[in-house]
């Protein structure tokens, strides 16, 4: 069990363990990488300033060909492809920093580039054979061919394992023939290479699916429907794609046959970080707009920035963005340090990223008020563009369940093992589980955050308190519900929200500690204040979640929803 804990900072939190050596010191790029990344960002900014008109892209629902060609010749299609395959070979941290910049400038372009490299060809980078890499990566790196990730189907969105697209073995195993269709595929209209997930066993309700990942070239027979008309990211192409007797050679299986679901999940784990960093970029753009606006707009003889309610919004937006940026680059650093498991961290970044952005865009539009609502200004477009982040690459609901259940899997197993050892049924071992927990803690011997700077002592103590609270609550609900925890979504929500806040606070603490160590208290004043404010906001939520474990109205809510399903609508009218 200890190895499991050591592999993931966030999973360890479920055991009450603070594996602080994983997150201290706050990771940073080497000075050489910082230098090249800042030069890259400079080129990217100049290109966008000179060539990209986001309002026009939104209006015409298309990224102009010259812009796409410009993005290609800049080298933006092969950011993480190793140089030996013709890519730029960026680290994860540098990659997400570049995606942050692009996200902050144009969402349609960010989604197009993200679908290509955050998920489209990621399966090749993670699982491809040298032969597959040699064959596909060089053209993908230059953007001569564009990639897409094709998982979702009409009857399988969140429940991706329910896909129906079939892959049947032909020619004695030399090839597969694929039949089915996929919907809402980003880059679907023009992609040349698709990572397609198809079922290599019959669909049986309840049985473990055998899904396999394939690299499918358009030329093998993929066709696509027209571009969907969407709320936002209108310049990106989202289409249905059809596979009708598409023959795919065996060499194009990515990963193992039957292990495609794992391929999809690993791709999404790593892709979510690109999405989160795009959200950081948009938040920064919005803050620039919001701050400029409050300094210029006057009401009641004053700048609106003078009013307390506006200051409150600005302060919260800053603190939330700071926390989001801190956890995104902490996670990027974890990925670059080659830790085995960052699935929870990247899922947390995705959920927090999309929700932070949604709150920041909403508040910024509120500050802009009337002009915020008008198409002449960028606010409404940014609001529309931002909404999709809560939906794709795993809805935030699905990811909350994932965070809670995957985090509780290890403590659950530990409890079950102790129970088995004592020949006790799972529900009957009451006090013994304390023993399991203590054992886990003792094995690692640490539950304080010792590396945090003393100036953040108050914040660290609150963090420690709620880490042990999380472990206690997780243990309680596991003891109470056993396997049934999988059905307890209200509980999962509380657990997930707690652990997300704890990870965010941990990220702020380590980053702010580094800032203080570098620049002293005065030099790090901004970071210290944002860290404090974020902690206060998180503290309130944590306290509420803990108290909700003891007393809540879950059953009331379920009953109301249940009745509403029967009524079929809001049941009243004042008439």
């Amino acid at each position: 069990m200890p190895p499991l804990i050591e592999q993931s900072f966030t999973k360890a939190l479920f055991h009450g363990v603070i594996a602080e050596d994983m997150i201290f010191p706050y990771p940073e790029m080497t000075s050489e990488e910082r230098q090249s990344t800042s030069i890259i960002l400079d080129s990217v900014r100049r290109f966008f300033a000179a060539n990209v008109d986001s309002a026009k892209i939104d209006r015409e629902q298309e990224i102009p060909k010259e812009v796409m060609d410009g993005l290609r010749s800049l080298g933006l299609f092969g950011l993480q492809i190793p140089t030996e395959y013709g890519g730029i070979g960026l680290s994860t941290a540098a990659y997400v920093r570049v995606m942050q910049e692009i996200g902050g400038m144009d969402a349609s372009i960010a989604v197009t580039l993200g679908a290509h490299q955050s998920i489209g060809y990621k399966s090749l980078l993670l699982f491809g054979t040298p032969e597959q890499k040699r064959r596909y990566l060089p053209k993908l790196a230059t953007g001569e061919s564009v990639a897409a990730f094709a998982l979702t189907e009409p009857s399988a969105g969140s429940d991706a394992a329910a896909i129906k697209t079939r892959a049947e073995v032909v020619d004695g195993g030399a090839a597969y023939v694929l039949n089915g269709s996929k919907i809402w595929i980003t880059n679907g209209g023009f992609a040349d290479v698709f990572t397609v997930f198809a079922r290599t066993s019959a669909l049986e309700e309840g049985s473990k699916p055998k899904i396999t990942a394939f690299i499918v070239e358009r030329g093998m027979g993929v066709t696509s429907g027209p571009n969907e008309h969407k709320l936002g990211i209108r310049g990106s192409s989202t289409t249905e794609i059809f596979l009708e007797n598409v023959r795919v050679p065996r060499e194009n299986v990515v990963g193992d046959v039957g292990k495609g679901f794992k391929v999809a999940m690993e791709v999404l784990n790593s892709g979510r970080l690109g999405l989160a960093s795009g959200c950081v970029g948009v938040c920064k753009t919005l803050l620039r707009l919001a701050i400029a606006r409050v300094e210029e707009r006057r009401a009641f003889g004053r700048n609106i920035g003078d009013f307390g309610l506006i200051k409150d919004k600005i302060a919260r937006m800053l603190a939330e963005t700071y926390a989001l940026e801190s956890m995104t680059y902490l996670t990027a650093g974890l990925v670059d340090s080659k830790i085995a498991d960052y699935s929870l961290e990247s899922a947390i970044c995705k959920v927090k990223g999309s929700e932070t952005l949604w709150s920041v865009v909403n508040e910024t539009l509120q500050i802009a008020a009337g002009i915020g609502y008008m198409q002449e200004y960028p606010y409404e477009r940014i609001l529309r563009d931002s909404r999709v982040n809560l939906i794709f690459e795993g809805t935030n609901e699905i990811l909350r369940c994932f965070i809670a259940l995957s985090g509780m899997a290890a403590p659950g197993k530990a409890l079950a093992e102790v129970a088995k050892a004592m020949r006790e049924p799972i529900k009957g071992f009451g006090l013994l589980s304390d023993f399991a927990l203590r054992k886990a803690r003792a094995a690692l011997g640490r539950e304080r955050m010792t590396r945090v700077h003393p100036l953040l002592g108050r914040e660290a103590v609150i963090f420690e308190e709620y880490v042990s609270e999380l472990a206690v609550q997780a243990e309680n609900v596991l003891r109470k519900h056993g396997r049934d925890i999988a059905e307890m979504q209200f509980t999962q929500l509380r657990i997930a929200d707690m652990v997300m806040d704890l990870f965010a606070v941990a990220a702020c603490l380590t980053r702010t500690t580094r800032a203080i160590e570098r620049r002293g208290e005065d030099g790090a004043r901004r970071e210290i204040d944002l860290c404090s404010l974020y902690l206060n906001m998180a503290h309130k939520r944590l306290r509420q979640n803990v108290s909700d474990f003891a007393r809540n109205d879950d059953e009331l809510r379920k009953a109301i929803a249940g009745r509403a399903y029967i009524d079929g609508a809001y049941p009243f009218d004042v008439l």
């Binding site: 090249s36 030069i39 080129s43 620049r519 030099g523």
Partner: protein
């Protein structure tokens, strides 16, 4: 042709409000500033690149461009960026910003020019931070080389440069024999401003400076960048310019609205006393 381009990093002029001056007024507080290459120096680099290529095939370099800057280690970012856009070699003269003035920089550059023996020294007409507008002129004097300042156009000829300078009411054109010092103005990056002998006169450049594609940025990590001690170039580091104090410009006062032209005229006459 071999060209030496001097580059300076300056506090990002778009974020000038971040420049802080401590109460003592002794110097400018540079912590937390964002740095950018001085725009006129970037134009000089662009002109140098145009002079060392056939504009229709910019990837084939014809000539050598050496870039130099004065400053601490961090200023190497400016040099790397220049290498990424096409310069061949870079030199950083290790120095601290507040221990330099135009005279000292020019003297050090003179020593460097004597070592590097470029055909042309190209520089921005001035740096947008101090706006001193001195180094090019002092350097030409020290070298006893021909000089053309504020170049708006440059056309390469055999052994000379034809330099167009925008002056009140027209353009003055100078032919400077090489080697020479040329400082450039903003217009130098217009599409038809600079022609090497290899670039066909029908060629039109993109407006503005070029920027590096990502593969070139990564490749530039391997280009030579050497550090030189200021003392090796200029043993005498005494400054001729001494700064006595710094103060932020006064905050702009709120404006007023006038009803009509006659009120405006009357206010300009009686209150502002400018008419």
């Amino acid at each position: 042709m071999k060209i030496l381009v001097a580059l300076k990093r300056v506090a990002d002029p778009d974020n000038a409000n971040k420049v802080k001056i401590p109460a003592s007024g002794e110097k400018i507080d540079t912590t937390g500033l964002e740095w950018k290459p001085n725009p006129f120096d970037e134009y000089a680099l662009e002109a140098a690149l145009r002079l060392t290529e056939n504009g229709t095939q910019p990837k084939v370099r014809a000539g050598e461009v050496v870039v130099v800057t004065f400053g601490p280690k961090e200023t190497e970012t400016t040099l790397r960026a220049a290498l990424a856009t096409g310069a061949d070699r870079a030199i950083r003269v290790d120095a601290s910003d507040d221990k330099l003035d135009g005279d000292l920089v020019a003297r050090a550059l003179k020593a460097l020019v004597e070592k590097e023996k470029p055909d042309v020294v190209l520089m921005g007409k001035q740096a947008v931070d101090g706006d001193s507008n001195q180094v090019g002129q002092i350097l030409a004097e020290l070298l006893d080389w021909p000089m053309a300042t504020f170049a708006a156009t440059i056309r390469e000829e055999a052994g000379a440069l034809l330099v167009g300078r925008e002056v009140d009411g027209g353009v003055s054109t100078l032919r400077v024999k090489l080697p020479a010092v040329v400082t450039v103005d903003l217009r130098i990056v217009a599409p038809t401003s600079v022609y090497s002998t290899k670039t066909p006169s029908t060629h039109k450049y993109n407006d503005g400076v070029r920027f590096a594609a990502l593969p070139a940025i990564m490749a530039a990590k391997k280009k030579p960048l050497v550090e030189v001690k200021l003392a090796d170039l200029a043993p005498d580091q005494a400054l001729k310019v001494s700064y006595h104090g710094f103060a932020a410009p006064p905050a702009r006062k709120a404006g007023i609205k006038v009803k009509d032209v006659s009120e405006l005229v009357s206010k300009l006459k009686n209150e502002a006393k400018v008419l």
